[in-house]
Symmetry: C3
Subunit: 378 residues, 3 copies
Amino acid sequence: QRERDEFPTLKNFKGLQFKSSDSTIYMNFRFRMQNRLGASTIDGDNLGIREFDARVRRLRMRVDGYLYSPKFSYTIQLAFTRGDQDFDDTGVANIVRDAVVFYNFTPNFYIAFGLNKLPGNRQRVNSSGQLQFADRSIVNAAMNIDRDFGIKAYYKNKIGETAVYHLKGAITTGEGRVANNTDKGLAYTGRAELLPLGAFTDDGDYSEGDLMRERTPKVSFGGGYSKNVGTTRSGGQIGYYLYEPVTLQTYFADAIFKYNGWAYQFEYIKRTVDKAITYNEAGESAYAFNGQGINQQISYLFKSNYELAGRYSWLEPGASIGDYQQETEIIELGATKYLHQHRIKFQLNVNYQTKQGVFALDGKGNRWGGVFQVELGI
Amino acid sequence: QRERDEFPTLKNFKGLQFKSSDSTIYMNFRFRMQNRLGASTIDGDNLGIREFDARVRRLRMRVDGYLYSPKFSYTIQLAFTRGDQDFDDTGVANIVRDAVVFYNFTPNFYIAFGLNKLPGNRQRVNSSGQLQFADRSIVNAAMNIDRDFGIKAYYKNKIGETAVYHLKGAITTGEGRVANNTDKGLAYTGRAELLPLGAFTDDGDYSEGDLMRERTPKVSFGGGYSKNVGTTRSGGQIGYYLYEPVTLQTYFADAIFKYNGWAYQFEYIKRTVDKAITYNEAGESAYAFNGQGINQQISYLFKSNYELAGRYSWLEPGASIGDYQQETEIIELGATKYLHQHRIKFQLNVNYQTKQGVFALDGKGNRWGGVFQVELGI
Amino acid sequence: QRERDEFPTLKNFKGLQFKSSDSTIYMNFRFRMQNRLGASTIDGDNLGIREFDARVRRLRMRVDGYLYSPKFSYTIQLAFTRGDQDFDDTGVANIVRDAVVFYNFTPNFYIAFGLNKLPGNRQRVNSSGQLQFADRSIVNAAMNIDRDFGIKAYYKNKIGETAVYHLKGAITTGEGRVANNTDKGLAYTGRAELLPLGAFTDDGDYSEGDLMRERTPKVSFGGGYSKNVGTTRSGGQIGYYLYEPVTLQTYFADAIFKYNGWAYQFEYIKRTVDKAITYNEAGESAYAFNGQGINQQISYLFKSNYELAGRYSWLEPGASIGDYQQETEIIELGATKYLHQHRIKFQLNVNYQTKQGVFALDGKGNRWGGVFQVELGI
């Protein structure tokens, strides 16, 4: 079983497993780290170093299991790096990433109570340990709905002999990981997925790259919607604090296709906000991102477990925040060596970022970037 | 053995235990989380939502054990949530809750060196995983003496054939978990307990509700005193920072009775301070709570492991802080389903809070509150 | 094998070890805590208490191991106390101490990618769990180069039949544990060691005190240099923030000798800076320490595993920071009882600190200090 952020990893896992002698306690323990060395250039045509991104990007510990009955399962995930703490946006050391209890009514229907990822866009729900580039796309960064505390329900079933569908819903606080007490404006999220050719091998619809080398074509189409009422943060569940509450609506459509080492994925996200720019008494402004974007990735995995991947991302800010954000595109190439699936891999990415649709090297704000990342985990 | 915050849990524990082949290292590892969904109303007669309290209230990891000899035992406890870090009062991520070494001279006499709970009021010394309501009382919240770093001594013995007594003392820094260096004003704490009918089953005198269904009546009477000299924090070991050091004296008297599924507990706390209100140079004030209060709880556990509990708490601030705090009473009802003792339980609490002794629904400051909490741990 | 901060502890470790059934995953888990009670006096001749240093000084968890092949080893270390988080200097909860992946080309040559200690002065590279005094010296405190993220290479070999040498190099960000993104000024570090009489028993050249009671004399001579270009912190990788970037150069020379229970160690460090004092727009200043110092320690371990140790440290600030820092000397005596090597020990230290070379008790700034520390770990 692949790591999947909407459900505990309980099956076929070869890590550290503990089961009490009376089988009432089951835990499996994992950790992973991502160390990276990246750099970006000053301009498109000045290849001097603007800054380095060299650090422990992620260091996480995770426990999944069940207690007293397989019907009560749980996931706990702790994150220790500065970047993972959301410290810079919130001023709080948010170490807890997941702390959620699942009650499994049937294998096809379960509910969750606690903190974990919302059923948002596919790339966000993919674990950061299941990505084929070192980072998710700029489209995801600008408009994903991240983690939130509340109640979630998951249902899946078949249509006919092959096709599978998933329905997911959540009612959550809307303020993300940092919140202690929250106002009465909540967040409502729904998502549906259709896999007309059947389930992916080993839950591969939430893992990038075709590491399983699907023997028959597999595809998943997904779509969803989230309304975050009266949030105080620029990205709803994430981001810096705004000066007034706003209501965000986010629309998702995505797809992933895999076959014989090839993988292609597509993601469209659109966000609207009732009040894009908020002001404090001193007249200073803080804006909530709104706009739309598309991310596409295509990859081929050689039998040597080297993968080549390409990515094109396009992000267009809404007119109301045109003073703060420009249209951005990124073209990125990635080479990955998978030593042990996604658990131990070496990634080398190079990208070119453009602003305002000007691809010329001397375009204002254009730049090159690159990153080498080692992932090690169990 | 029940979890007990004054001693490591070493016996009869069915969790994750590790013993080295030569028996010189013993560890038992536990975790628990509390996820809650609560709300309070705007007024006693306006049932609109004032705010939600929906979050991972606690997520803790704990290791108990001994090293190289059962005489050297230890307890380590880490807490990762924002609320548990005391972040909002101190601005520091206080992750360490317990880090204490015990030396056991005899099974009846041991000393502790390090950070753990002081021998204060009974409800505070109960682990937060052994409570029958989602939170401790407002009386505890206002006047408990929490954890502190220093030296503690514990002694117990019998009087006659049945009765048991405990003596506990501590000399500690008085500044709580956050302190690095401290001034020379320390804290001195003493506590005595008498159990005339003998020890509770499975250390039940420090666990709420009669989950053991005591076959014969058991009772414990306790009393104590703590003097915190020159503390810089509003609650001594806890709370926000004051502008000048103050000296707090806290008096405790409590009792717990259990028999055949019934449990009753009583707690009286009184606190005095030599200088209730402190000022900075700009003339702003910060006060140290002083006053008195009583908390009582009664419960019955049905054989189905459903429990009904009632609580009445009364808190009266001292005259010197009458401008900041009002007399508060809370009546609370709780229904709890224990699935696996206190380790996995579902709690539903409803309460009504009044101010200044006015019970009418339109009393100023009155409100309703409720919370649903799931606890899951090993 | 002793704990060593430049390499994972993989051999002969009697703690908690986990190996997957197919031998592809190996982890060993350790923790340790240091609880201390210290005090310093008001003056050399006024023995009133200036302040207490009573706290959990360190509480750390560490995992070492390899994944999928012994060639891929790793070390992870988390630190949870306020002091270990470098919170007071950075305002960030820096929990991650080590997160590093090693690739072992041969047993004698390996590289590291990630965050761990730089090959700086010997006492700093010694684990804080391998010290014979409760703290490292003031010379180390003022001029060590700590941990940093980047690439490191380690090589060792023999000269003739007995002598051993080590070569170590590192290119790192220069900003220490706290950094997310960094400017283009990096840090370059190199170090060489010569052990003419062969390797110490059980890696004892990076452990204080002769706990192995070397049967033949052993000595190691080391020297190194580190240049930190354009750092923004007062100590390079550590310390408070400066108002402008500076470039630090640090020179190290050290030696350790052990024989039959006797140990002697020597350390000289010198630091220069291109711009000692930086200013902000308001004219406030922040300085980077520069100067030189010597630390010497001598100890004898009795067969009862009691050790007596003496230490003399001298620290001289550079002329450019004479307004901020004075010449300081400390004489310290230590008595240590090792119950289980360095893993469980009791330490009692007493010291006398002088300023400006005036040893008289009434010298300005002189004072006495003492600390009792218990270390407990596996």
